[in-house]
Amino acid sequence: MNLEWMAWTMPTAIFFITIVSILIAMTIWQIISPCMKRKGFLPIATTRGDRLFIGLLSSAYIHLAWLGLTPFTLWFAFAASLVWMGVVMRWG
């Protein structure tokens, strides 16, 4: 199958493989240890999947804000997103 039209690059392949791996890991985690909705520092009660979605979406916005507002390398935004993701998943 020729996937040339999709214009794959190594960084985007790694990005999508990571997302798919996270989803598979979350599914396995849910089967092994089903989660209940709970209330953390976020204003709504969330499941584990909700917190992942919130973490990923807000990480995208952190990257965009960094790109739009600062001239510095995006790795800082990436590091901040990782920390934020961990905080949301644990205490969100």
């Binding site: 040339e4 039209w5 214009a7 690059t9 999508f16 979406l57 916005y61 790109l67």
Partner: protein
Amino acid sequence: MDKWEDNRAWFLVLPVFVIVAFSAIIPLMTVVNYSLQDIFGPGERIFVGVEWFKEVLHDSRLHEALLRQFLFSGMVLLIEIPLGIIIALMMPKKGWAASLSLVLIALPLLIPWNVIGTIWIVFTRPDIGLLGAAVNGMGIPFDHTASPIQAWITLMLMEVWHWTPLVALLAYAGLRAIPEAYFQAAKIDGASSWAVFKYIQLPKMRGVLTIALLLRFMDSFLIYAEPFVLTGGGPGNTTTFLSIYLVKIAVGQFDLGPAAAFSLIYFLIILLFSWLFYQVLQNAGKGGAQ
């Protein structure tokens, strides 16, 4: 009684998952790939990192189009949701009149989007259009191709005429699903019409209004065909919404990289607001009338 989950039911959603994968996920992956490259043609591309995102985020025309889009969607929601509810409340409850009003009110929804624009071009023409000629006849100069305010008014009228029926039909379905016992209890308590609306009808319509709000927000935020046909984004750029500007970049200038980056930002905005609306409406009235 012990309850157990039958996970085989997940196989029933598999066909939908496959369709969504082909119609949405694979194109989205391609857009992500394009957004990081300069595409010259088939097999001719250069990796440029986040350069297009930087360019798009600092594009003042995109900022203006985004503001216009929020203004348009906000006004559409502020008009269409209350108007749809009022129409639904006024519609006949049963009999032939109910059937007839349902058919009549659904008519604008059956017209293709590009035809809607064409209808309104003719309708608002200052020389022969019913609306345009009538307004001019009253001594008020009307030409939506020259005046930005009149172009906006015409667009809003067209959008409200086209899509309020959807809100009205959804609200009507929600109203008809309320058991009669609620209204009988309210009558016994001597509740006013306003109290019935506030404490019975509105909370019971929350589900359908969530759908109406989400559909109308997403549709109005993605609007393309109607304003493109009616105003072409003009006069000047005053009705150039995000989708029109995006098509100008992608098709007009064939800048696929910036257009892909723009699309992803557009997608993230819609995703965020749809999720926020959904959460707000799902959590609104919790603990109140159910």
